[in-house]
């Protein structure tokens, strides 16, 4: 992203389709979901409920969380039937 006000798109238009994927929304987060894989049954309820599609899967298994986009809303932790997602305080680096 440009660092000068002269370079931003006039009117805040978005001229590149599907570009939301490149926008880091993770900067808003105050706490992050951490998955306890020892108790996770890969039911994918977190994947269904996540508003930002942050749960990464591979061959039908939950394998990670995309913290670039995760805003820390905590819906996954509430909805997880096994209570194996905990929200942990995000400390600024």
């Amino acid at each position: 992203m440009s660092q000068d006000w002269r370079k931003v798109a006039p009117g805040g238009t978005v001229t590149e389709p599907g570009s939301a994927v490149t926008v880091e929304t993770g900067t808003w987060r105050s706490s992050r979901p951490v998955v306890d894989y020892d108790h996770c049954v890969h039911c994918m309820i977190c994947w269904v409920f996540c508003p930002d599609d942050c749960f990464q899967t591979e061959n039908g298994k939950l394998v990670g969380v995309d913290y670039f986009h995760c805003k820390g809303c905590g819906i996954c932790a509430v909805e997880c039937p096994k209570k194996c997602i905990s929200m942990q305080e995000d400390v600024l680096a």
């Binding site: 006000w5 002269r6 931003v8 006039p10 009117g11 238009t13 978005v14 001229t15």
Partner: protein, 408 residues
């Protein structure tokens, strides 16, 4: 489409020659000649003539504009925003409370950089209920990011309506523009005016080439996206820059229009100001009355002058300071009250223009003509008498004074 003989006569009678006509009908003709792709408006006094006349032009096939008869001004501006984003040349017209109802959307239009043109017939705001002229409505839109043009008479309202299109659509500007005429005084007052021929107007405004239109499917664009703390500030700074650039564009378009029509207005219009010691500063139709007051005073040996501000936004700070630099005392006339402010809106702008340019006639502020109160020469003569007394040492307090008010 075949026109009826009466329709042909009507179109012919209003092109390429002088006619006796009111300001609102003139602007409806300007809109017919500009031939916007979309017009969305709601009739409201004193703008009603524009909506009625233009929709008649559409119904009679004199113009192929898509006319959207909306249910409110909030809807009118919303339609304009959608239409302009789609890539259509878009216009609307309103007055007083109608403009107030659009207020939220005025920011969306300017923030999205959509070159909509609005014809505003100025009107007081309720309460108490009033449909007559003052500038309370336009002052509410003063800081919404729309360049704002004022006209002195119907001819200039017509001329400004045409120029507004070019200003709005200029690639350095891309902002919606408000072109005003004083309610009733200009909208309903019949005066002599010259209407250009249709082809000249069409060629002056030119073919519209929209910036990032939604309907250009080869270049998909999103309007109105989320813009949080990260970039909102940068977009606002860009709008401020476009507004600054609009000043030069308004001047250049005005000069080009002058070549076409023989009528050019500049950013400000000084009248007998060169050697003036006393001056008034004014917006809109009262300038006509003031010219005769200045002439009257001049014939009696008083060095009086007037400065009419044609462009309220972007405010022509430098031009105003230069025009008033040699004046001893000036009275700034506001046709709106800014409750609780140090002075009226025009007064404050003139104060800043003078202070920041290091020149300084003594200033007082007069509020006049609220809610359609007649603006008579005697009132303005009184203002001149007051400032002449101030030049001789009388107090300049209170700073804010009232003309034509019942006061014993």
């Amino acid at each position: 489409m075949t026109l009826k003989a009466s329709e042909r006569r009507r179109a012919r009678s209003a092109t390429g020659r002088a006619v006796a006509i009111n300001g609102a009908t003139l602007v409806a003709h300007a809109m017919r000649q500009i031939h916007p792709d979309v017009v969305a408006c709601y009739p409201i006094t004193p703008q009603t003539i524009i909506t009625e006349t233009f929709s008649e032009f559409v119904a009679n096939g004199l113009v192929q504009t898509e006319f959207v008869a909306v249910e409110s001004e909030h809807a009118a501006m919303s339609v304009c925003i959608g239409s302009a984003a789609a890539g259509a040349r878009t216009q609307t017209a309103t007055s007083g409370p109608g403009l107030a109802l659009m207020w939220e959307l005025l920011w969306v239009a300017s923030g999205s950089r959509l070159p909509i043109v609005m014809h505003l017939c100025t009107r007081a705001l309720s309460a108490p209920l009033n449909i007559l002229c003052d500038h309370s409505d336009v002052m509410g839109a003063r800081d919404t990011g729309w360049p704002i043009l004022f006209s002195e008479d119907g001819q200039e309202a017509y001329d400004n309506a045409i120029q507004a299109v070019r200003v709005a659509e200029h690639p350095d500007v891309l902002l919606p523009v408000i072109s005003t005429q004083d309610g009733f005084t200009i909208t309903h007052g019949i005066e002599r005016a010259e209407i250009l021929d249709d082809a000249s107007v069409r060629s002056f405004v030119g073919e519209y080439s929209p910036h990032r239109p939604l309907l250009d499917v080869e270049h998909p664009t999103t309007y109105g996206a989320w813009d949080y703390h990260d970039f909102y500030f940068e977009h606002k700074r860009q709008q401020a820059d476009a507004m600054e650039k609009a000043l030069g564009v308004i001047e250049a378009v005005g000069q080009e229009f002058g070549k076409l029509s023989g009528r050019s207005y500049g950013l400000v219009q000084p009248y007998r100001l060169d050697d003036a010691e006393f001056a008034v500063v004014v917006l809109g139709s009262a300038a006509g009355t003031l010219r005769s007051v200045v002439d009257d005073l001049r014939s009696r040996g008083v060095k009086a002058g007037m400065l009419r501000v044609r462009v309220l936004r972007p405010f022509p700070t430098k031009a105003v300071a230069e025009a008033l630099a040699g004046v001893k005392v000036a009275a700034v006339l506001d046709r709106a009250l800014a409750f609780g402010a140090p002075g009226g809106p025009l007064f404050e702008d003139v104060c800043v223009a003078l202070t920041t340019n290091g020149v300084g006639p003594r200033l007082v502020n007069y509020v006049y003509g609220l809610g359609g109160r007649d603006t008579l020469p005697a009132q303005f003569l009184q203002a001149f008498e007051d400032i002449r007394r101030i030049a001789k040492g009388a107090s300049a307090q209170p700073v804010v004074r009232y003309l034509g008010l019942r006061e014993s």
